[in-house]
Amino acid sequence: MTNTPSSSAMSATLAAPAAGGPWGLFGRRKSASKPPEETDAKRVQFNSRLLPYLFLAPQMAIIFVFFYWPSVQAIHSSFYLEDPFGFGSTFVGLANYTDVLKSGEYLGIARFTAVFTALVTFFSLAIGLLLAVKADGVIRGNATYKTLLIWVYAIAPPVAGLMGMMMFDQHIGPLVKFAAFFGWDLKVGLNYNDTAFAMIVVSVWKQIPYNFIFFLSGLQGIPVSVREAALMDCRSGFRRFWTVILPLLAPTAFFLLIINTTYALFDTFGVIDVMVKDKAANNPITLVYKVYMDGFRGNDLGGSSAQSVILMIIVFVLTIFQFRFIERRVHYN
């Protein structure tokens, strides 16, 4: 991939979503030779010593108090063992970390989180893409489908979880009856795997509209001339999709991959909290839920903080990895 101006312009038009958001920043930085701060600068600017700080003050104040202070606090308390009754704390070095990482329970939850994240990301991307391609293809009813398919975006994860509880309810749930028809005795809330299945279904359901919106706007950004050329070159619709459309959607897909991973790791908290109904003991939970449980139910400040820091590192590494390695393989041109 070359960093010519034309390639970056191409990527900017094709990857409208990716170039617009904060993530696009990286893309921009990669394709432009200068760091963003310098390229951002307007040719003409105001010169004032005080004013910029005045404008930035509210945002910076909030970031300091509610972002940097708690983050530093988390790192700090991850090295201490706090007395549960609040009588001081002792420095224990890395003990909190080793305790967490040695715990079989924690590793089990980590494994589940990885599987859960992978499945939710895969299915919500795949179904979102399928629906977007079909909605882009049909002419009649296009707008209606679009409107109906994006509704669910506006629903809060715990409300989605509640809907799931209803569909999977032992007494009244239609999906339980449907599964029973195939001889599957679906027991959500009692059986570990069944609960995991229901959580994944609900989390995917909640996330499909988001992916649908982005894939559809990505598809509509592909110029008609490109489609027509592809149509002339290749009769097979499937192959045309695979070799022409999909590579052109790669920037959108890449952007969505990050968003969906973050969603599955963090935003599904509401779904899980509602679906395990406070009985987390033999139900599947994710790492974020574990941080919450240990911190607020177990009163284990040190352990919970150590887990927070581990999560911070995971998010950090994931972001860096995605930008360094995956984006390189995405075809922008």
């Binding site: 904060p22 708690p70 509704w151 809060a156």
Partner: protein, 280 residues
């Protein structure tokens, strides 16, 4: 050719069924009586108790939570949604304006300090954030509910991107006319950003309305519960009772989703524009 189109419609209809079906069932079921639902399962046709159920949920004190009515929860949700959206827009427009239109010494470091907030979501630092709120005595206040959620820079990046696309000539012209930074901001930047402000307002309102984890931690006093926060209470009732009030549970769930869904539907165009051109 014709056959493939038909197949496309079939897939889309299945998608619509999967996405919208549960919502329809919830709406219909909420208009039946609890005993009826318990006997006959979920309903797909409207029952005769729509008004009763919703009146009960909205006005009866202690329907689920002991002290407060659905109406009060709805008001709290609105306060959170609107407060969050408005706060986010004001903060981020000001910060983005400073970053784009001013030359100052610590610009680079400020930029990166703001950028870092995008990497770590609130969920990974919940306990320490809670401790900070406790220290500041902000639990069970609207300030504590709204302000910490503002500590992420998504909006700032969105407006920064937009301001960069505004032609430089505007500023040159404004300066020739003798406009200072304040005048330029109020008379040029704000009017130009109108559509963007609307789009970001919709997205942020939905985001604020739908917050769950943070309100769960911050509010133990029921008079501060939002509708989404109240979902948890619905379930606790649900688990314990003999014939659960399914109808009221669904009614409350419907109330919790109607305002954001309506906003997304009505302002669909702005919403999609805001979403695809910014980021959540």
């Amino acid at each position: 050719m014709h056959r493939t189109k038909l197949f496309d419609h079939v897939i889309l209809m299945m998608g619509v069924f999967f996405m919208v079906g549960p919502l329809l069932v919830a709406l219909m079921t909420s208009s039946h009586e609890a005993a009826d639902i318990h006997r006959n399962g979920l309903q797909i046709l409207p029952g005769g108790h729509f008004i009763d159920t919703y009146t009960t949920v909205l006005t009866k004190q202690g329907g689920f939570t002991g002290k407060i009515t659905g109406l009060r929860m709805m008001m709290n949700s609105l306060i959170l949604g609107i407060g969050f959206a408005a706060g986010k827009i004001i903060l981020s427009m000001l910060a983005a304006y400073a970053l784009v239109y001013f030359r100052f010494r610590f610009a680079t470091i400020t930029f990166w300090m703001i950028f870092t907030t995008l990497l770590l979501p609130l969920e990974v630092r919940i306990l320490p954030s809670y401790e900070v709120m406790n220290t500041l005595k902000l639990t069970n206040t609207y300030t504590g509910l709204i302000v910490p959620l503002l500590a992420s820079a998504t909006g700032t990046f969105y407006f920064r991107q937009f301001f960069k696309s505004i032609p430089d000539e505007l500023l040159e012209a404004a300066r020739i006319d003798g406009a200072g930074p304040f005048k330029f901001f109020i008379d040029v930047i704000v009017p130009l950003s109108k559509t963007m402000i609307a789009a970001i307002f919709i997205i942020m309102f939905v985001y604020g309305w739908n917050q769950y984890l943070w309100p769960t931690l911050m509010t133990t006093d029921e008079s501060f519960f939002t509708l989404v926060r109240g979902i948890k209470q619905i379930l606790l009732v649900w688990v314990g009772s003999n014939i659960p009030d399914y109808n009221e549970a669904f009614a409350l769930a419907i109330l919790a989703m109607v305002p954001p869904v309506m906003i997304v539907m009505i302002f669909q165009r702005w919403f999609i524009k805001g979403l695809t051109e910014s980021d959540k």
